[in-house]
């Protein structure tokens, strides 16, 4: 793609394949030899972690689907059957359920990393937009998956979220109601709703996988951004992806897997809600319904708005605004490390998201509602006001001359050559 191919088929069979379907060449150029900035930090390892999580979710999900029954009378019992009777069923289900949380944790860190280092700025706008699209698909997939358990929280989550669409009645009377009945396949959440949620929950991960391929493709055209945000200027600024970043990503993945396994084996229900172990009851809403932790900030935003249609629009806007970030940010430099003013607003935004998450878990009354409105306002002001204005007025700090210089210090009279491996035979860099 963006760099000239250095693949040399050695054996006869490799040459034969290379002339017909050069997949080995593609894999070698893009995932082994791919020139990667030499200064990537551990925040860059979450792309690999996310790939692992997608595979893990699909593998456990396909297997769970072999035992799950998508009917209102059997869904809940079939989940308990998986937990008690199916060989390793408890492990597979907990890995899938905790996996959803881990997937979002990694995706949010990945997104904040992109925001901090300006990875959305030209020429990576499409890369960013595809990423936001993946996040949006993940939200839809996770919501549908949660509904399949058909516990009390599942059932009322489906009821509440599908009813969001009824807000369109305020635009065209009757439109929202018709739309919601179309989604339900009836006049309330029921059997037809469950089977279509199940069908789409199985489909969406493969759509995500497809968009991930485009996301990686879009990444490999300009190559990685890096902590300095400056472009790669020479081959000395890069190291081949393998072994340098396969090892680094692998190490980070192991640490992440320890956290993941810690939840699966020691606290598998910590991130879930106990009410979802009560079978769905269409006649009784739980006292206090909350979504999974990864939706809490959005839930707080929804509840901050006292108007139904406007609340739903704000909820959608909280994600849609991310699509426009590449054009909202007017800064001349990418990395927030070189932005003395914006830095404070950025960290305030991170805190805002965490506080909104907390507020989303609290009852929507009194001080929680007031705070919810304040932080919702900042959430949008950050994108719509801070990004354009601060980028305009701020004077960025001096950037290093190159990525290599940012690692090794300013260039001396004898230019330091990259030293990726301590012992090597040929001293000259491969230029």
């Amino acid at each position: 793609m963006a760099h000239s191919s250095s693949y040399e088929p050695s054996s006869g069979i490799e040459k034969w394949i290379d002339a017909r379907l050069p997949v080995p060449r593609l894999m070698y150029d893009q995932f082994l030899a791919f020139p990667t900035p030499r200064n990537l930090n551990y925040w860059w390892t979450f792309g690999g972690i996310l790939s692992f999580m997608l595979v893990s979710q699909i593998a456990t999900g396909v297997v769970l689907a072999m035992h799950y029954v998508a009917t209102p009378t059997n869904a809940f019992d079939s989940v308990e059957h998986i937990m008690r009777d199916v060989n390793w069923g408890w492990l597979l289900r907990y890995t899938h359920a905790v996996g959803a949380s881990m997937f979002f944790l990694a995706a949010y860190i990945h997104t904040f990393r992109g925001l901090y280092y300006g990875s959305y700025k030209a020429p990576r706008e499409v890369l960013w937009i595809l990423g936001v699209l993946i996040l949006f698909l993940m939200i839809a997939t996770a919501f549908m998956g949660y509904s399949l358990v058909w516990g009390q929280m599942s059932f009322w989550a489906v009821t509440v979220i599908t009813n969001l669409f009824s807000s369109l009645d305020a635009v065209i009377p009757g439109l929202g109601t018709r739309l919601v009945q179309w989604i339900w396949g009836g006049f309330a959440v029921g059997g037809p709703t469950l089977t279509r949620l199940y069908s789409l929950h199985y489909l969406f991960p493969f759509v995500i996988a497809g968009v991930v391929v485009l996301h990686v493709w879009a990444l490999h055209i300009p190559g990685n951004n890096n902590p300095t945000g400056i472009d790669v200027k020479s081959a000395r600024d890069t190291v081949p992806f393998h072994p340098y970043y396969t090892i680094k990503d692998g190490f980070a993945l192991v640490l992440f897997a320890v956290l993941f396994a810690g939840f699966v084996f020691y606290a598998p229900n910590l991130l879930g809600h106990p009410d979802n172990y009560i079978p769905a009851n269409p006649l009784q809403t739980p006292q206090h319904i909350v979504p999974e932790w990864y939706f809490l900030p959005f839930y707080a935003i929804l509840r901050a708005i006292p108007n139904k249609l406007f609340g739903v629009a704000t909820l959608m806007g909280a994600i849609v605004v991310l699509f426009f970030v590449p054009w909202l940010d007017t800064s001349r430099v990418r990395s927030t490390s070189y932005r003395p003013i914006y830095k404070w607003f950025f960290w305030a935004f991170v805190v805002t998201c965490l506080v909104l998450g907390y507020l989303g878990s609290q009852p929507p009354e009194g001080i929680y509602l007031v705070l919810g409105r304040i932080f919702t306002a900042y959430y949008f002001l950050f994108f719509l006001l801070v990004m354009p204005v601060v980028g305009w007025i701020e004077k960025p700090k001096a950037l290093p001359g190159s990525i290599t210089e940012s690692v090794l210090g300013p260039e001396k009279s004898s230019p330091a050559s990259p030293q990726p491996a301590p012992r090597r035979r040929t001293p000259e860099p491969a230029l």
Binding site: W88, G89, P420, R425
Partner: protein
């Protein structure tokens, strides 16, 4: 970046390639550890397809034989399989006893209640001390069809037993294969005759 070339791993060979280095040891250890982890992680994904605890717990079935007269047969379910229970007539028993073992395509009893090498005599096929009863898994040993011969009017083949409609295997009145592609006698499940009128399968 289209104009840049880059460093490939091949350009960093180790100083002495014959001598194993610390890096080689670490690579093999890490690779082996990762392979073991992959295997361990894969096992639950495969083992989940094996019969689960609820399937294994359906281990026994009790059947009341009070109303099964000589010459009649019933079919019951055990672990999702049809179990043929035939109350044999004296004629059927005599026919089965008259056959020399050497004439049978499968000389093994295939009786889960007996040793694996028990010969396929009628005594070893029929119920212990109750030779009029034959309890057997009603699945053709060729490719798993259910042979005809249970209902009145069914074809019973040339040996007063069962006839498989799929590929023409024929079984005698002791459920032993006599003709056709089936390789084995129909299997006898583990069972006990609890009383004169009750059998417990499994």
């Amino acid at each position: 970046m289209a104009d840049t070339t880059h460093i490939t791993p091949a350009q960093f060979p180790l100083p002495d390639e014959d001598e194993p280095s610390r890096r080689d040891v670490i690579m093999i250890a890490a690779g082996g550890f990762a392979a073991a982890g992959l295997g361990l992680g894969l096992w639950p994904l495969l083992d989940q397809m094996n019969p689960d605890q609820s399937a294994l717990s359906m281990a026994t079935t009790e059947v009341d034989l009070t109303h099964v007269e000589a010459g009649q047969a019933i079919t019951v379910m055990w672990r999702g399989k049809p179990i043929f229970i035939r109350h044999r007539t004296d004629k059927e028993i005599e026919e089965a006893k008259a056959v020399p073992i050497d004439d049978l395509p499968d000389p093994i009893a295939r009786n889960a209640n007996l040793p694996d090498d028990a010969p396929a005599t009628d005594e070893n096929r029929a119920g212990k001390d109750r030779e009029s009863w034959l309890v057997m898994i009603g699945i053709c040993t060729h490719l798993g069809c259910i042979p005809k011969g249970q209902a009145i009017g069914d074809p019973k083949g040339d040996y007063d037993g069962w006839f498989c409609p799929c590929h023409g295997s024929q079984y005698d009145s002791a459920g032993r294969v006599r003709k056709g592609p089936a390789p084995q006698n129909m299997a006898i499940p583990p069972y006990t005759l609890v009383s004169d009128t009750k059998v417990k399968i499994g």
